[in-house]
């Protein structure tokens, strides 16, 4: 068998493997999609009845679903707050990380990885015990908020790290050399270049909080959407309304993630272009110098 033919066969074989992998990943969601489109008489299994119908999607707007709708609001508000705090903390941690000695930076990295690896149920348990020791009773705020941010932080941190891996610190050096203060350098040079990463980190945090379940279960006394879904899954008989809800949240989340990734990718491209331009011409440096001169009031010690 020739080398080329073998190469070709292995490519086709691996391609088939990948296609099967996608079926494995998406299959159950598609099953849920089909069953969610049943009519009123539809049940939790096959054969599917009365396809296609929007009955179970309308059901979610009806009176039987008010608990779900209020859980949606709870989750949405929480996810927005987690997004803002998660993005801000990811930014401040990476700014510190860049300045640390290597040993401290390694410790920080391990703590961040610990946040990623600690089992959710353990963190939830630790949180209620810690709150009891302090004489507080656990609730969604601040205990639930706290563990959500802890879960979101490693992802945001890794996003920021990837941005800074492709960031040329020379632009900051230039700004400093031209007389900008530390504060000015951050707000006028660093932040405009990396804000896309901060936005990405915040969106990650939003998505992860919106879907978080295991860390919230023990801590929260208010039902977030995943807690509400869990309650319905484990108490009542399975109805297609939960499939409809699953389909909406799944595709909604996927949409958000894709928009976010596109935004970050565009941002990275722009960063590279801005920086390249800065080095090809002196214009950028001149602008920075002018900006620095134009705002003497901000000049710090």
């Amino acid at each position: 068998m020739s080398q080329q033919l073998r190469e070709r066969l292995s490519k086709i074989g691996l391609g088939v493997w990948f296609a099967a992998f996608l079926v494995f990943l998406y299959g159950p969601v598609l099953v849920m999609l089909v069953l969610s489109l049943q009519s009123e008489k539809g049940g939790s299994g096959f054969p599917a009845v009365g396809l296609p119908s929007g009955y179970w999607y309308n059901y979610l707007t009806g009176p039987n679903s008010s608990a779900i709708r209020s859980a949606v609001v709870v989750s949405l508000v929480l996810a927005l707050i987690v997004g803002v705090i998660g993005g801000a903390l990811a930014l401040s941690l990476i700014m510190a990380y860049r300045r640390m000695s290597r040993r401290t930076a390694t410790i920080l990295l391990y703590v961040v990885l610990l946040a990623l690896m600690t089992p959710g149920i353990l963190l939830g348990l630790g949180m209620i015990l810690w709150w009891k020791l302090l004489g507080l009773s656990p609730s969604l705020y601040p205990a639930g908020l706290g563990v959500h941010v802890v879960w979101a932080l490693p992802f945001g941190f890794l996003v920021m790290l990837s941005i800074f891996n492709r960031y040329d610190v020379a632009v900051e050096e230039a700004a400093r050399d031209l007389g900008a203060s530390v504060m000015q350098t951050f707000t006028r040079v660093t932040l405009p270049i990396i804000w896309g990463g901060v936005f990405g980190a915040a969106l990650f945090a939003f998505t992860l909080s919106w879907n978080e379940f295991e860390r919230t279960l023990l801590v929260s006394t208010t039902n977030t959407l995943p807690l509400e879904i869990y309650g319905e899954l484990t108490s009542a008989a399975l109805q297609p309304n939960l499939y409809a809800l699953g389909v909406i949240t799944t595709f909604g989340t996927i949409l958000i993630v894709f928009l976010m990734l596109i935004a970050v990718a565009l941002m990275v491209r722009r960063t590279a272009r801005t920086q390249a331009a800065a080095f090809q011409t002196d214009e950028e440096a001149v602008t920075l110098a002018e900006q620095a001169r134009a705002a003497p009031a901000l000049e710090g010690a």
Partner: protein, 335 residues
């Protein structure tokens, strides 16, 4: 008075936007990969070049909010679990009196904890192995066989998307897929492979393993994919030019160079499946025990010290598993 210049992680691969370390594992991956591929001192691969004017106070101010948050909501809870596991249980919770009885209860002959732990550890090992077998070819296909970087990334993102949706809903989706009247059974019956629906597909250990593999396989694919994508192709070409067959190149060059990615993937999958709780509950249907379920039950009975002790032993077991995994990798290295 400048900081020693630290080398960047990887060559900036053209066309690969900075999406990658958005993913767990990549960070440690680039660390190990950098050290391995470029022969740098370990750890150097992660460092960013320090910005100018880095005074200690500024660093501290940047550090403070995040450090406080992690201290209050991560470090303290984990330590408190360890501490409370040595407290005495009462009807309403615990009192601060030292005891080891929570641990002796776990190791007593009437306890089912160790057999549950054994089952969870066995499942986690199986899940890890299956994820590797399924995930490696997927990563290899995307990183090596798909020539255009944009296509490789596009396909990778399509595979990655489900990771961002709720594990709860992804676990739930297995119920209509695998139930007696589920999709798999009705398809198998329609094409005539089986005549009676298979009951083993749902609410069984088998179902738990399948669902966990689906939930966690991307933690395996991702680090391997990025390491393969960053791989120096000249090593492979050199081996080819020297007459090695495709299989030998893979075994002797590609596979050893991606060992770090494999290890990171294995550690992630193993650790996350050891601590799993929702999948066991929803897909295992109560017939399969897990430590996560145990802990939740104990908390609802207000037996906090016992729950804490079980959690502490779970963490020890996870650590042992990780150490064994790393040992195993070292052993392979010497052969």
């Amino acid at each position: 008075m400048t900081e020693p210049e630290l080398t960047p992680t990887k060559p900036a691969t053209e066309g690969l936007p900075a999406l990658e370390p958005a993913l767990p594992g990549d960070i440690a991956l680039s660390d190990a990969a950098g050290a391995e591929i470029y022969g740098e001192e370990k750890g150097a691969g992660l460092a960013l070049r320090a910005p100018p004017g880095a005074s200690k106070l500024v660093t501290l101010l940047w550090m403070l909010p995040g450090a406080l948050w992690l201290l209050i909501f991560l470090i303290a809870p984990v330590i408190v679990v360890l501490v409370v596991s040595f407290f005495t249980g009462t009807i309403t919770g615990f009192k601060e009196v030292f005891t080891t009885s929570n641990y002796s209860a776990i190791f007593s002959s009437s306890s089912t904890y160790l057999s549950t732990l054994e089952g969870v550890a066995r499942n986690s090992a199986i899940v890890t192995a299956v994820c590797l077998v399924i995930g490696y070819p997927v990563a290899y296909f995307l990183a090596v066989k798909v020539k255009k970087v944009q296509y490789a990334f596009g396909l990778f993102l399509i595979a990655l998307a489900p990771f961002f949706t709720s594990t709860l809903i992804r676990a739930e989706a297995w119920v209509p897929t695998m139930a007696i009247n589920g999709a798999v059974n009705s398809i198998l019956k329609d094409i005539g492979i089986i005549h009676h629906p298979l009951g083993i597909l749902l609410f069984s250990n088998f179902a738990v393993i399948v669902a966990l593999v689906q939930l966690l396989v991307l933690f395996m694919v991702t680090p391997i994919f990025f390491q393969l994508a960053a791989l120096d192709q000249s090593a492979i070409e050199a081996a080819r030019d020297l007459g090695a067959s495709g299989f030998r190149v893979f075994m002797n060059v590609t596979l050893p160079l991606t060992r770090a990615g494999i290890m990171i993937g294995c550690v992630f999958v193993f650790v996350l499946s050891m601590g799993d709780f929702a999948t066991y509950k929803l897909v295992g249907g109560g017939s399969v025990g897990s430590i996560g379920l145990n802990i939740q039950n104990l908390v609802s009975l207000l037996n906090y010290p016992q729950a804490a002790a079980q959690a502490a032993i779970l963490v020890v077991a996870m650590a042992i598993g990780v150490v064994l995994l790393l040992r195993f990798a070292k052993l392979q290295d010497q052969v």
